[in-house]
């Protein structure tokens, strides 16, 4: 019903209906998309975008994919973290402890994870693959040493900007590294682009 002197398309009642309809429709679409997205991003789902936690038993690469035209994580042959293969449940528990530690120590107010967080320190999306760890053989040891005492192992590249010691226990360090390894295997549509991982062994061996 248009008010006197007002076109129907400029009337209060028309726009009230519009506001309700548009909001309801967009919310409905979002809910439907959410149902779909949640099945896709479940860890270890068919879609393969978010790997199962036991991916930490494997070598992980990051390579250019011609078909998708950007970089994608590649799950390579078995290469267990700290030489110890874990079943899915144990792997989940370890990664879970790592994530809890990262939240409890508030790492995300210095670093970004998947590009979200703070900009005071490097992005950790591919920290597991960072060339800064030298090579595959040295990596686990160097990461452990660094996280146990970052100021003593500071690099800072001339900035003097060090990471404070988060005083992680040995268990927490291992868990954080497992979490970072799992994170590096998430398919992020090619972010970060152009990242070159540290030298690693074969990615296409027997990928059991």
């Amino acid at each position: 019903m248009a008010e006197p002197g007002t076109e129907w398309w400029a009337s209060e009642s028309f726009w009230r209906k519009c506001a309700i309809f548009v909001t309801a429709f967009m919310a409905l679409v979002l809910v439907l998309l959410t149902f779909h997205t949640l099945t896709v991003i479940a860890a270890g789902s068919e879609a393969g975008r978010v790997p199962a936690y036991s991916v930490i038993n494997h070598r992980i690469g990051y390579e250019f994919d011609d078909e998708r035209n950007h970089m994608v994580p590649v799950i390579g042959p078995v290469a267990p973290l700290f030489g110890e293969a874990l079943d899915e449940e144990a792997a989940r528990a370890l990664v879970d402890h790592g994530k809890l530690t990262v939240q409890a120590r508030n790492c995300m107010n210095c670093h970004t994870l998947l590009g979200n967080g703070a900009y005071y320190a490097p992005d950790l999306t591919k920290a597991w693959l960072d060339p800064g760890w030298g090579n595959e053989q040295a990596r686990e040891l160097l990461m452990t040493m660094f996280l146990k005492d970052p100021p003593a192992n500071a690099r800072t590249f001339g900035t003097g900007r060090r990471m404070p010691n988060p005083h992680l226990t040995d268990d927490e360090v291992r868990a954080v590294i497992a979490y970072l390894k799992w994170m590096s295997a998430i398919d992020t549509n090619g972010f970060p682009s152009g990242f070159t991982p540290l030298p690693q062994g074969d990615l296409r061996g027997d990928a059991s």
Binding site: A42, C107, Y119, N189
Partner: protein, 485 residues
């Protein structure tokens, strides 16, 4: 009522409560600035407070203080208008009063724990008691639950008062929006191992707050303010509010997709996020166009110049900070490189300031006018230089800081993201570029300017209208009433 005096005891109960909310809001605003300065200083002198108050602690207090003071500003504004809009007194004054004190106590405890305890062992207890470690919503779980309970109590008062009195278009939108706003907070209250899942829901809180429900909330507050201060006609203001809701939710809800490009979520979000967030500037442009229309068509005699100046700042700041700065990085082809750099920080600062700081400050000026016995607050009143300089310093500081951060963001996205491939070394290659380093100095300088502006603003809040004895000019000016708002 004494003109120019403090008429606190002549305010209604709910409005006295508003004054309390505004007071805490401004204390937290000041704290936000101080911790921003500390965090900014650590970019320049990394050893400053190293191991004592590390960057992550300062930054957490900085952004948490911001979220909380803005919410306090909104709640204060709602209590200010609820009795007037409903026509009846607040239904639960004692609950409302108690809620304020409980909420404020909880906020204080949370901040003290952030500063003193800072972090804890990697288990659920830490998330329950100390810190959840998720940007903007770090508050520990106990506080989350407390906040939700306080929100329920506030909601009871607001909705209950409208039920007891009369409803209007504005109060209808307001109440529904409050339900959505509080409901969204629940999406950020659980823990999951799965990081993509975590960030998926985290953005529901952050994005659907600032780009949807907060925008509509300030739309309601502004609608009421326009009716009261400019004598705008209710039917027009309400229609316009509905239009803004349709445009804002129409683009903003699925605009959420611009945060789902790189977190493991499916590829269709690239298209959805790009498309809908490209539409997000439209409601902001609409607001500017409507402001131009009003300014041109009706020669309003505003009796509160500082409030009007900050309202105009809101229309333009919202457009510039959210619309322009947001759009710059919203297409995935660009966001691939700008994602998670100082570019985001530049946008975050300008958008929060332009959209929300401005409107809360404007509303506080409205409240002060009443507190001073409805005096005329003009550009020529005694001590008017204070509000003008505060406005200028805060805006020059904020625009300068955002441009400095944009330059830093350009360097960072180019050197670290695009050329260097975002490794540890590439990160520092970006951080050591001369332009980047200089930008960090400029950010600091502009931050100091802003802080000076804020101090002046707070002084003005205490003094504005104090020497004024001219009463508000009658609002029912014939031509304004005839032409409407």
């Amino acid at each position: 009522m004494t003109l120019g005096g403090i008429n606190y005891h002549e305010l209604s109960f709910a409005q006295r409560l508003s004054v309390k909310y505004f007071t805490v809001a401004m204390v937290l605003f000041l704290a936000q600035m101080l911790f921003g300065l500390l965090a900014g200083a650590q970019f320049l002198w990394p050893d400053f407070l190293f191991g004592v108050l590390d960057f992550n602690v300062n930054r957490m207090v900085h952004i948490n203080a911001m979220v909380v003071w803005m919410l306090y500003g909104f709640i204060g504004s709602i209590f200010w208008l609820v009795e007037d809009e409903s026509g009846v007194p607040l239904v639960g004054p004692r609950i409302a009063e108690a809620t304020f004190w409980v909420l404020t106590l909880a906020v204080t405890v949370v901040v003290v724990v952030y500063l003193v305890v800072q972090s804890g062992p990697g288990n659920q207890w830490t998330l329950w008691l100390i810190n959840e470690g998720r940007e903007y919503i770090e508050a520990p779980r106990w506080a989350d639950i407390g906040i939700v309970l306080c929100m329920v109590a506030i909601f009871y008062n607001v909705a209950g008062t409208f039920v007891a009195g009369r409803w209007s278009g504005i109060s209808g939108v307001l109440v529904l929006d409050l339900i959505a706003l509080a409901g969204l907070y629940l999406a950020g209250m659980f823990y999951t191992t799965n990081l993509p899942m975590d960030q998926y829901w985290w953005w529901w809180v952050i994005h659907l707050w600032v780009e949807a429900t907060w925008e509509v909330l300030v739309g309601c507050i502004m609608a009421w303010g326009l009716i009261k201060t400019l004598g705008a006609r209710r039917r027009i203001v309400t229609t316009w509010l509905y239009i803004e809701v349709a445009l804002m939710f129409g683009s903003g809800i699925l605009g959420l997709g611009h945060h789902y490009f790189w977190i493991g979520t499916p590829e269709y979000w690239l298209g959805i996020g790009g498309f809908f967030s490209a539409l997000e500037p439209i409601p902001l442009v609409a607001m500017v166009v409507h402001a131009v229309y009003d300014a041109g068509r009706h020669s309003f005699r505003s009796n509160n110049h500082p409030a009007l100046a900050w309202l105009i700042a809101h229309a333009f700041g919202n457009f510039l900070g959210a619309g322009v700065w947001g759009f710059m990085q919203t297409l995935p082809q660009i966001n691939m490189y700008t994602h998670g750099t100082q570019w985001s920080s530049s946008h975050g600062h300008l958008a929060f300031f332009g959209a929300y700081t401005t409107i809360v400050v404007a509303f506080i000026y409205l409240a002060i006018q009443r507190l001073r016995g409805d005096v005329w607050m003009s550009a020529g009143m005694d001590g008017a230089w204070r509000w003008k300089w505060a406005l200028a310093l805060l805006h020059i500081g904020m625009v300068g800081m955002s441009i400095a951060l944009l330059i830093a963001g350009y360097e960072q996205s180019f050197v670290e993201r695009a050329v260097g491939g975002s490794t540890w070394q590439a990160y520092f290659a970006g951080q050591t570029q001369p332009w980047f380093v200089q930008a960090m100095w400029w950010r600091m300088a502009f931050g100091v300017l802003m802080t000076a502006g804020l101090v002046l603003l707070l002084v003005d809040f205490l003094r504005a209208g104090a020497q004024e004895t001219r009463p508000i000019k009658s609002l029912a000016l014939p031509q304004a009433a005839a032409a409407g708002g």
